[in-house]
Amino acid sequence: MNKSIIVAKREFIRLIRSKWFRVFFLLPLIIVALIYIFLTFTPGGISLFKEKKKTIGLVDRSTEIIHFLKDTENFKFVIADSTQAFDSVMVGSFDGFLIIPENPDSNSSIYYSRTASDISRLRNTLSSAAFKWRLKKRGLSVSLAEKLNRKVDITTKKISEKGSKGSGIELFVFGMFMVVFLYMFIIMASQIMARSAVEEKLNGMIELIISDISPTKLLFGKFLGVTAAVVLLLVAWLVVVMTFMGNALFFINRSIDISIPKGILFYFIGAFIFGYTLYTSIILLSVSAVNSEQEVNNAMGVGVLIILIPYFLSFLLIKDKPDSIVSVVSSLIPFFTPLIMPLRLSISTVPLWQIIGSFVLLFGTAWAFLILAGKVYRISMLMVGEPLRLSRIFQLLRKK
């Protein structure tokens, strides 16, 4: 068996056996199971997603509006006595109590309730009833007005030189999801990777294992093992999110059709792979000189800082102005590309040269950093015992 695969297997098993992994892996699955049980076997499950119809006590002093105030899917109106308004709400006979004044146009209707969460819907329902009353008062046709008063829907489509493509909103959601997902993945995986990479140096195993496997193969094996473990963890969480969203959509009778253009999907996957490689290499470079657990924590901070900059740029600047100079320039800088370019692609039409240019720059930089990190790692691993500086390692690199 390939030596890197042997190391990857050990690394994977070590990680999935660790306490933190068990907690983070089992937690989402337990959440899924609980959601499923709750929705399937408890009567309150479905009502969690379907809103309860509210019973509203109604006093119409105008005696006019009541004819137009029909029950809706949210409200059931029951004629009541105004003297019991307070008590009936308090004892739970009604969810709310609505008093319409003698002159409906006086804007002095009063609504008593324990919560005001549905006031907006109730206002719309009441306004609609008052509108119909006014129409009738002027001798106009209510049914004709209802037919004419239909909402106009707008479907968003992104356009480019090749014509229209996918829904902008769906892509925007996907882009933001991609940024958050990539950020989570990179932060988690690169930190585990950094600790894993210096494990043998810190526990003194390096001298033994290095006679059986080259540092480069060892590092590659660790890279594979850590990536596999983190992917497994994220898949578990993805299942939770999908299950939760799926259930929510099912119960509110809606569906989302996310169709991502193949080109963008390809870029996303590429950015994901090379972004992960680049950031992990940066973190590896920053931890190569460490000699203790404490130094690992300090060194990782530097690497994480580089990843944090594009993450905040994405939310603060790029989201609203995807074609500004800051957005264009930052999306072409390889260290920022993996987070910023996917977001720009999802909310704007990016020129082809920028897409290809950013991808080539990202690929080249990721490859160069991976080679550099491998070399620095190889040298630094055997320099046990003396306080190390990156400058000293680079000096040895030049000498080699």
């Binding site: 001298e207 033994l208 059986d212």
Partner: protein
Amino acid sequence: MLSIKNIYKSYGDVQALNGVSFDIKKGCIFGLLGPNGAGKTTAIRIILSIIYPDKGEIQNSFNKVGYMPEERGLYPDMRLDELIRFLGNLRGMKKRDIEEQMDFWLERLELKDRKKDKVKDLSKGLKQRLHLIISVLHDPELLILDEPFTGLDPIAVMSLRDLVSELKSRGKTILLSTHWMDQAEQLCDSICLIKEGKEIYVGDLKELKESYRKDEFYLEVEGEVDFDQLPIIGEVKKKGKGFVGKTEKESSEFLRILAGMTEVIEFKLITPSLEEVFVQKVQSE
């Protein structure tokens, strides 16, 4: 045979090895001796191709090499059997061979009952034994032991020494790197003394010691003895319960004369310890 010829290696401004040469013959125990920082570990790393020399040549006819490093860390959370299998796999061993060798060595070094224990639960001495199992697991022709006695109690030292002798009797070649001259003296056939990256002596251990012998004796007798009646050169000095002196006669002849004069409790020729030889060598260099 392993042949090291004129090896140079520097780390920045530090010259770790400065033209070191030696040969290790098959079936012998070869001592690479010197104080801490002499360049022993650097030489071993070069032999194992972990690092490369700046200059020099290495010829190695040993197919398989086992290594017990000075820095003896292990994966603390792995079980003994898992760790052995992992390293066996890395060395390209077949599954069946790994299991056979593992069971044999765990039994031989009295670790069989701890097979399923985690490495972190072993004492320092037991970890040392585990290291030894790992280094011989793949049945190497050349076994390199870098400072194997460091941190061990006297019983563990004795046990390890016996094991090294046993491995030699099985035909293994052993490169023993240590600054413990007394242990090397008991085990090694030939040695290379190095200091600050320079070799001071390479060759047979007995020959080296013989060349530093001064015909001195230690003697313990019952009652009094008149030293003027004995063929003694120079002054006799009191040492502990006995005396130290130098004779012009052969030791057997001297002892015969002595036995005619008094009851001899102990008589031995004093040969310098390897440590003393090393100090004298360094001073003369």
